[in-house]
């Protein structure tokens, strides 16, 4: 048992001596063992002293609410610091969530939050569905459900029209004891069904707007146990409906949603093998002596593997990082074909006797990601500790002693959560298998042009649509290397750009002979001054780097601008630590260097005198050129996106 006071003193000593990584490790251990209201003040104070000495993602959160939340806020900040989030949080006035969402002068707009949490209770927003339910007739209940949903939809709509902040809507909780007792579970007139109808409606509302998500408060209370969730006495006196443990659970759960919204997400989950993926040590117990099956004790690791498969389906890559003889490990997979996981499920592996931090760095390089995008899973606390010390930016998943708790720990890890999913995410692992084939093709081509031709690439450029919105936003947030301006856009921001007159948002899909790379490029242009098309964003996933796809993309922009009667195509290159691969893009395509500034360099293509030609080894599909009054073209039909049409229809 960790001695709390001793650990506090140790942390203070480490801070005073400027041993910042040790202080942070100590704070994580202290808070994991003793999360509490009393300790939150100490923990938050220590982390404020760590600002500037470690990397944190800042996030501004506004909590609009129908009940007392103030005691939860320091807990939220402490839970957030654990996940490397520096949260600035402010609660709205008591039960004033509706005017605060609707009023254009509301403090919320001045506060400029990144995320707004709407923390409301069934008993506050829909009292007819709570205490007095037994008095209501069926048609009154339906009217209540409709009214509640109309109010929510209106509040969200008005708020979204003035703010691009993410919105997290609490679902309404079911009562612990329905008004009608066990009769409620039977057919007809159920209270639980009425509350669920509101929640289903909230889900539809979230789907109608960009960047609005459900926070499943009801599921949280149910998972923790409705019986011990509420504090009726505290609610009666100070309108705080939560017991101490519930407040901690709520803070923790809020952070599980804030992490993906803040971009604090892992791209790769690197896992150990012995006693992590299966019970036993393959080098000692032999391939037949290890277990991951539905019996005891193998069920613990069966569940771990099922959890990893679920993580993989969210678009997170799996990698193996194990100290083992490689042949033994591969043989273990071959000898147990019934295990949920197979070798092909892993995008990379380092199975050797080298230290794990070095292996993890190599995995990051091989998969072309930053080492901080890795989450690490290992049953051995010594290995976990070592990896955390040497690679402080990695997320190390804390595991309990009992393997039966491993799967739950994986599923509870916030950096493995996602709030949006795209086709690309589900198929990402398959893409990496195809990528190994592409690499082999590249090695065997005699020269680079032969390699390009051998790919049979098809580049499809299209306008942004509702179905590509999530992936396009994700690309602007994750692409660091081939990105000339590194502008990050949320879904709602990109949608707003697509609707702005003079602004165009394009997505780029690349297929080749090995398969579909999916959506891998985004281009955003605007007519910044008359006659000039300015490139706000031009990025490509590193999947399709060095295959002349960028030439095809630029050729489209040049032809499109020329067809609209514009005289020049202009783009900026804003250098960052990671985007050197894009530095020569404009120069290589005949753009001329212009003004330079501290931020970067400006490049211009004279559309009258120069052109960008799409390589003949690429088959390019693009929207037809816009008919321009100046050019006198009449044939071209502009392909308005579904998104434009929907936006105009509302």
């Amino acid at each position: 048992m960790i001695d709390r006071d001793q650990l506090r003193r140790q942390i203070e000593d480490d801070l005073a001596a400027q041993h910042f990584p040790a202080a942070r490790a100590g704070l994580e251990r202290l808070w994991s063992a003793h999360p509490s209201a009393a300790l939150a003040g100490f923990v938050n104070g220590c982390y404020e002293r760590l600002r500037g000495h470690a990397t944190f993602s800042p996030l501004r959160v506004a909590v609009l609410r129908s009940f007392t939340v103030e005691p939860v806020l320091p807990l939220l900040r402490a839970m957030a610091w654990m996940q490397r989030l520096d949260v600035t949080v402010k609660a709205g006035e008591f039960n004033a969530y509706a005017p605060e969402l609707l009023d254009p002068q509301s403090w919320v707009h001045g506060f400029a939050p990144d995320v707004v949490i709407l923390a409301v209770q069934t008993r506050d927003v829909a009292p007819d569905l709570w205490d007095n339910f037994a008095d209501r007739k069926a048609d009154e209940v339906q009217a209540t459900v409709r009214q509640v949903l109309d109010d929510f939809r209106n509040q969200v709509r008005v708020f979204r029209s003035r703010s691009q902040a993410y919105v997290l809507l609490h679902t309404l909780e079911l009562p612990e004891h329905p008004s009608r007792g066990i009769l409620d579970a039977q057919a007809g007139g159920s209270q639980a069904e009425a509350v669920r109808a509101v929640n289903d409606g909230l889900r539809r509302i979230a789907g109608e707007f960009s960047g609005v998500y459900l926070f499943d408060y009801d599921a949280l209370a149910a998972a923790r146990g409705r019986a011990g969730w509420r504090d009726e006495q505290r609610f009666a006196t100070v309108k705080l409906p939560l017991r101490a443990e519930s407040m901690l659970a709520l803070a923790r759960e809020w952070v599980r949603y804030l992490c993906p919204l803040a971009g604090r997400s892992a791209k790769v989950l690197a896992v150990d093998l012995d006693n992590t993926l299966w019970g036993g040590v393959v080098a000692e117990d032999g391939v037949t002596g290890i277990h991951a099956d539905r019996e005891h004790p193998g069920i613990a690791w069966w569940n771990v593997q099922r959890a990893l498969l679920d993580v993989k389906r969210r678009g997170i890559l799996l990698a193996i990082c194990s100290k083992n003889n490689r042949e033994d490990a591969l043989e273990a997979f071959r000898a147990h074909p019934g295990m949920p996981l197979h070798l092909e499920d892993f995008a990379a592996d380092r199975i050797n006797w080298v230290d794990k931090p070095a292996n993890l760095r190599e995995i990051a390089t091989e998969l072309n990601i930053g080492v901080d995008s890795i989450a690490f899973l290992d049953d051995n606390p010594t290995e976990r500790d070592r990896v955390q010390r040497e690679l402080p930016g990695i997320t190390v998943i804390d595991l309990p002693d009992d393997p039966m708790g491993f799967a739950a720990a994986i599923r509870a890890c916030p950096v493995l959560e996602r709030l949006a999913a795209s086709e690309e995410d589900a198929e990402r692992s398959r893409y990496y298998a195809e990528q190994r084939q592409r690499a082999t093709a590249q090695e065997s081509a005699a020269n680079v042009e032969e390699f390009y031709r051998s790919l049979f690439q098809k580049v499809e450029i299209a306008r942004l649509s509702t179905s590509t919105l999530a992936r396009a936003s994700q690309l602007t947030q994750k692409t660091n290397q081939f990105n000339v301006t590194t502008r990050r856009y949320s879904e709602q921001q990109i949608a707003a750009l697509a609707e702005t007159p003079g602004c165009d948002v394009y997505t780029v899909r690349v297929k080749d002979r090995f398969g579909d790379n999916g959506l891998v490029g985004v281009m955003i242009t605007r007519e910044a001054e008359p006659g000039v098309c300015e490139i706000d964003t031009f990025l490509m996933s590193c999947r399709v780097i060095a295959r002349t796809v960028e030439t095809a993309m630029l050729s489209f922009l040049a032809d499109e601008s020329r067809a609209r009667g514009l005289a020049a195509l202009r783009g900026w290159f804003l250098p960052t630590a990671k985007n050197a691969p894009a530095a020569d893009l404009y120069r290589k395509h005949g753009f001329e260097a212009g003004a330079a500034s501290v931020a970067g360099s400006c490049w211009t293509l004279d559309l009258v005198r120069a052109e960008v030609i799409c390589p003949d080894w690429i088959e390019l599909t693009a929207p037809h050129a816009e008919a321009s009054p100046a050019s006198g073209q009449t044939g071209g039909h502009s392909q308005a996106s579904e998104y434009f049409e929907r936006a105009n229809a509302q």
């Binding site: 103030e70 006495q233 009666a236």
Partner: protein, 59 residues
């Protein structure tokens, strides 16, 4: 021991609630609403905790 809402200017109802919650969690006890109202000085808090048979040092 004479610290109280009257002597510490910034002591407001929210601070009072935070103190109550922290004490409850720290000593694993529950105050009744009546006791909460009475927790108006550190001295009273110490007495109530004593009644609930908790050893604590207050300065």
């Amino acid at each position: 021991m004479q610290s109280s809402p009257e002597t510490i200017p910034s002591w407001d109802s929210l601070q009072h609630l935070n103190l109550v919650l922290a004490l409850e969690q720290e000593f694993r006890i529950q105050f009744t609403p009546e006791e909460v109202e009475q927790l108006l000085s550190v001295e009273v808090a110490a007495n109530v905790l004593e009644e609930k048979r908790v050893a604590c040092e207050v300065s």
